[in-house]
Assembly symmetry: C2
Homo-oligomer: 323 residues x 2
């Protein structure tokens, strides 16, 4: 396994760069042809902050890609291409780069996205993986966080809080009563499953939309703020997996399930007239109406009796910059 | 000065993101409209590898942008937009982020390029700055490293080796006899001046082209390899600044001037019929014919007597990946 950058690129990453514009990674640039608009997003993950040093290295590559694919899905866009920047620690065996490339290649195939280029460097610090992903909008417009309208339904895909429970299990702080749930929850923590299957639905039906990566409550607050409106969320409607329901029944920390993050679901708003169409377009995938958009600001959480109830302050697990 | 990511983005970076597609950095993505082809490049710089911890932080921001602008210039493209990924050390005062943003903003204005988006994170390791830059080709084609033709002239912009001498001065290993040269050489080490003024010339006249960032000899070897041909370089023609000529006269390390790197000039090949047009298009900017393209492989350096002569093995200062 070569430790030389040129050889690493030639032998491990160039085989993943199959589109003409990638120029086999022998040039300094990629040349991309866009028909109309391109959606572009970039997300970085850092060892010790966004993943653990002993996570399988192939899974780290997949996580770096998938957090970006989740952003594209949240904007109703189809994955097209990606740039990889890999900053590799001096102290980590370079043999592991092959595992990284293998994991990345598996996901590039699985999600139908091409490697267009990138850069590599070494560091005396933690592994740092930055990916820029490009997508083609499924619809005529790319929904932003700021496009919610008064009276819109609020929708969420999938279930929330499972990654948090997976993290608790890994830390040895909790165990599900049902052993079968253990691996499923850990997998949700380790590796997001971006809702690429919901991107076309989002493009067609959403007014405002974003992926939920920093916790439902914090991200809903961001959407509310950007739209200049309030989101009213009914707690009884929030979709939970079976182990999350069990955890909630034996704990008073419902808010933690909803503000910790790493869910990688899509939060969107849509006109109530679209209610049946949204359900039909989901084609069996889980999408749940959890509230509505109203005048005002911030997020209101409402309990089963219809009363506004406070959960602990939503903050998400925002990664602080600086000290 | 806020240490919260959301506030840092809102107060320091959002004011730099003035194009509509950047969505004021409040959305997760940028939406870019491309008419035809876009040239995309991404380069990362790491503290302790590509810059020194005590470099002025505004200059670090500029360097991160300029190494990417150099890639665009080398491909005959006009800067259009950039994504910034800033990974900030826990131990570095967050007040410095304002200086970083100020430096970045000055260069965005100076080079007429828009901030389209980005990401921020914290790290227990060194500062790591990754920029993805987008350019619009000036010409109908984007010259690659692989497009040299037999009989082409080999051209280089500017002068070579000045950044290396600036580095020697900073390390206290050399001093120019002329004090006025001191700051100029240090500036060339600290901050590349990408040859954006030569991009249109490159687009019009170059067959193969690339920017020289890892040393002339190593980068010429890459161009030769990609094109499947040999580059013959005449050492007497290689353009040197006055202090570099003085250094060369008192040293036997001519090869170091040419293989250390950080020159950020443009190396290109062009049909000899274009010779006069290239000189005219340079419009007074320095561009020098230093050799020709021939059958064979690799780089041949030829002395003033017309003899093939070996310099020490060209390696550039390739940044090793892994250990």
């Amino acid at each position: 396994m070569p430790a030389d950058e040129f050889e690493v690129i030639r032998t491990l990453f160039a085989p993943l760069a199959t589109s003409a514009g990638a120029r086999g990674l022998v040039d300094d640039v990629a040349v991309i042809s866009a028909r109309g608009e391109l959606v572009v997003t970039t997300d970085v993950i850092v060892e010790g902050v966004h993943f653990m040093p002993d996570d399988p290295v192939g899974a780290i590559a997949k996580k770096a890609l998938r957090v970006n694919l989740s952003d594209l899905a949240g904007k109703g866009a189809k994955p097209a291409g990606a740039l990889l920047t890999l900053v590799w620690p001096d102290t980590r065996p370079s043999e592991q780069i092959a595992d990284f490339a293998r994991g990345l290649g598996e996901d590039l195939s699985a999600y139908g996205i091409a490697l267009w280029g990138g850069d590599t460097a070494s560091t005396a610090g933690p592994m740092t993986v930055s990916i820029t992903a490009f997508g083609e909008p499924y619809g005529a417009r790319v929904p932003s966080r700021a496009d919610a309208r008064i009276g819109d339904d609020v929708w969420i895909t999938g279930t929330l809080g499972d990654a948090w429970l997976g993290y608790l299990i890994l830390k040895g702080e909790w165990d599900p009563s049902e052993p079968a749930h253990r691996e499923a929850l850990i997998a949700r923590y380790r590796l997001p499953s971006p809702r690429t299957d919901m991107a076309a639905l989002v493009a067609r039906h959403a007014n405002a939309s974003m992926d939920v990566s920093d916790g439902l409550l914090g991200d809903a607050a961001k959407l509310a703020h950007a739209s200049g409106l309030s989101l009213h969320l009914e707690l009884a409607l929030i979709p939970l997996s079976e182990p999350a329901r069990a955890w909630k029944a034996t704990s008073d920390g419902f808010g933690r399930l909803l503000d910790w993050g790493d869910d990688y679901e899509i939060l969107f708003t849509a006109d109530p007239k679209q209610r049946d169409s949204v359900a039909a377009a989901a084609a069996g995938a889980r999408v749940t109406r959890i509230g509505s958009v109203a005048l005002g600001e911030g997020v209101r959480t409402i309990d089963a009796a219809g009363c506004v109830t406070a959960l602990e302050a939503p903050g998400g697990h925002a990664h602080k910059l600086g000290r």
